[in-house]
Symmetry: D2
Subunit: 303 residues, 4 copies
């Protein structure tokens, strides 16, 4: 089985991929759209890409690539704790580090540590934390050190100056496993459904009305992020993770409500939640409640 991922080797994304499938053939891609396109074109069965970071927020490239183009389906998620290692070429000392090549998100998550420990160091952005490590290892880097995942240290033969760097001790990144549309993962009772929804109009009332479609059916959201629709400033769509599976009645009812009320609803998958915490339906929102309600309404019509 081939799985495309946001490369290069040695990133946290590779770590997520290995959690999902230890033995797959991993295909490193230069960016998120490329990884997703491999899945779209059938050159890889799945793609693993980051979607959300507890410090940096949504990963725009992923949110936008999933929301546009040939439909893809999220079939799983993996959550990876994030801490960085400050790496150098053998011989470089901490006090020599003036520039650090790493991905901007990594830099952002170590800002406070850098300010406290290397206040003069400047950030050199590179496409990934592993790319920084690779450049260091090759001797072609324009910077003195990197901030990368532990796995990259060994892979590139670098020296770890400091391990476990993270401004937020419990930082995590959430990755999604994506494929072309296929049979839905079976509901486990602890599931998520991911959607992209555009609003009918852009006032406070529009978002309010959209959220009420969830609230009246007792469906909670675990993530909501606005993304510009792109046609004009101030026009937003919303990327949403809702608790539950589309095989459940209340989620179907939410989706029907959104489909009627919103100019665009894109269903991006229902899949097991990484935390495995079972959703407890609010009173009146279990499948049995929906079925009883439908049976009752049908009985009214049979008079």
């Amino acid at each position: 089985m081939r799985i495309a991922y946001l490369g290069p080797e040695g990133t946290f994304t590779e770590e997520a991929l290995r959690q999902y499938s230890p033995d797959a053939e991993a295909v490193a891609c230069v960016d998120v759209p490329t990884a997703l396109d491999l899945a779209r074109q059938g050159e890889a069965e799945f793609a693993v890409v980051p979607i959300e970071n507890s410090v940096e927020g949504g990963v725009n490239a992923t949110l936008d690539s999933l929301a546009h183009g040939t439909p893809l389906m999220i079939v799983g998620e993996v959550v990876v704790p994030i801490a960085f290692t400050l790496v150098v070429r053998p011989g470089t000392r901490l006090e020599d580090v003036r520039t650090v090549g790493t991905h901007p998100h990594a830099w952002a998550q170590c800002r406070r540590w850098m300010r406290d420990n290397l206040p003069a160091a400047l950030h050199v952005p590179v496409p990934s934390t592993a790319a920084g490590a690779a450049a260091l290892a090759s001797g072609e880097a324009e910077f003195d050190a990197g901030l990368c995942s532990r796995i990259a240290v060994d892979r590139y033969g670098l020296e770890a100056l400091v391990d476990g760097i993270a401004d937020t001790w419990n930082a995590v990144t959430r990755f999604v496993v994506v494929s072309t549309p296929r049979r839905l993962p079976r509901p486990t009772g602890a599931d998520k459904t991911t959607l992209m929804v555009h609003l009918a109009h852009n006032e406070a009332g529009g978002l309010l009305a959209m959220l009420q479609e969830f609230a009246v059916r007792g469906v909670n959201l675990s993530r909501i992020e606005s993304r510009p629709i792109g046609d004009t400033l101030g026009r937003y769509g919303f990327s949403i993770d809702a608790e539950g599976h589309v095989a459940e009645e209340r989620m179907q009812d939410v989706l029907m409500g959104l489909h009627r009320a919103c100019p665009l609803v894109r269903f991006m998958g229902s899949y097991p939640s990484a935390d495995g915490v079972r959703t407890r339906p609010a009173p009146g929102t279990s499948d049995a409640d929906f079925i009883a309600a439908r049976t009752w309404v049908r009985s009214l019509l049979q008079n």
Copy 2:
């Protein structure tokens, strides 16, 4: 065809009955529960009873009798303009009138006229406007005059002192035509659905949540009245007329939502609206919108 109604002869209810069915055999009943019970027991095909007056509000006896006991179904409504005639026995002059025997609702609707024209006159409550007229005619009345419908004047051989008395020039009473459950009247595009709904809990939030079940499906209410549930002070149910027919998808969806959210929902009928004004569904709430939404959700499940 036999139709029971709130008698005696000569009331506005009889007028409503005649509008609905000019040639039916009319069975006058002593009170609303009796009229409804005749329909329940099959001794009359229909019952015609007042449900709402534009001045006095809901008719409690009707609301409560419909809400309890063997289910009945509202199959039609009739709206009758209300104005009263001051009647006396031949020979009585306006200045002789010291007491007026009429139904309390009639009295309430002529209060200002009475204050302006017969300020000293006292009200003697009688069970119906026609009962007052009948008592006057029989010579057994303890009062000098009556306030009744025009039709009662001739029927009881009384003298009309003043016609068209009404504090509110456009006062009307709305009557419902009721039967045992039968085939629903066909939707006309201008329909009403009548419900009794109890709330899950009694806070502002409970009523709010109930109303949102209507609002998210774009269904308007033309009447909402609280009625005590009767078990303790401050516990209320709501008698509701909603615009639309249960054969319409959005109304079915509202009913399903209410059934899930509320401890009691009693469906009391879908029937043509007397005013014939067609309901214009809000965007996204037509039958076609519901069907398209359901088709879409089903397509998601077939992956």
Copy 3:
């Protein structure tokens, strides 16, 4: 001190009056508007009238008389348990009772008992339970028995056939004590505020928006009743009891919101709740929370 009340002597209203003020000079009035007018004109310091019954619902005459005309203020409430006594002239036996003269509300509250025990008995409506008793006592009654309060039995020298009749064992009636506008009763922590509110427009959304003014400030309603505005069928105002006192910040904020959003808001008083149950403000809605919020906003303006 003179207090007007809905007479005649021997009614539950008199009982309420005595609870409120054992030694006042009680002035029995022929109907609710008359009692309220005595208070309006200063001929009585207070009026005591029924406003709500746990079985029959709101007392329309009171709701409407308070909502129109020269403003009055509710300064207190009294809750009286309701059970009736079947009274007759000495010598009449239960099996002789064919007609019962009582107020329609009393009749409604004993319907089941009557059906079970005197199924053939007919109701003769009289203006009050005590009027029925008085008529019986005077020998001029057209009926065989009365259903009245215990206090009326002795007062009119009648014989009690059955005591404690009530279809609902815990039925109560709530009375309000009313005066011309005066200094507000001091907040006790267990208070009610009574309002009449008209809606800006008549759709489900209008009532929803009105209720949200309460909900966003965490103010619960203990009673809400629709009353026709009277100009056309389907135009309703709402008579509301809200938990809390206008001296409290959150109630002031609700009132400001209603004043801005609704074409008519009539404040009818803040007064101690009869049950004495203290209101526990929802988080963020105490006076201290409001004051802190205002102080913060003012600090923003002082830059």
Copy 4:
């Protein structure tokens, strides 16, 4: 007057700065936090930084830097149309371009054009579009071309191969002008207020309740973006632009409501809207409406 901005010279941010203040001494900074810190420390009177792009969405570094640390105040906004120029060193032909050094946001906004015109070209991320141009000009670049603002072409003596590149023809970036807290800009009738709000709890209901604080006062939002609070996955705050000025009553009322309901509300300024479109208050939400409501409530308390 000194103004710090997100450098280097030749970026769109410099263009925004010049629109705001043609003659200020412009201080280029290496990143957004640095520019904001110069303003915080008084070394610059203002800082100009991008906050929102019609294609890429919110600028996280700006949103987060404004939301944390010593408070800053937004005093103005500038909107700049965004189109890019493909630049090379003199002599490079379009067909020679294999790598393009530009900021990831610029790359994202030209993705489709690149795919259509230079499908084989790879992206080399650099800290800014101008940095790419500068590197090209210096001869030290590892890439063949840049995508930068028109102003940078001349400044760095480069050759423009293609002008006006933008996947979205009306793309704009919005910049804010920031200072330490000072006297608020005067309301113009066309203003925005920027806030950061954390939710009391994280369910759909929490966001719904927060939005209702705006909706009940008729205040529209022109931007809402979730930002992770950072303590755990799925905990979000919301960065909000609301229409109106804190000097207006309805905005003050919203802020008071948020302060009471939410664990954190950070006011980040009220300032003239770049589009100059005057806000039309919804019925019942003008300053006069608020003042009338307050006067009425005070009159109730003076009894």
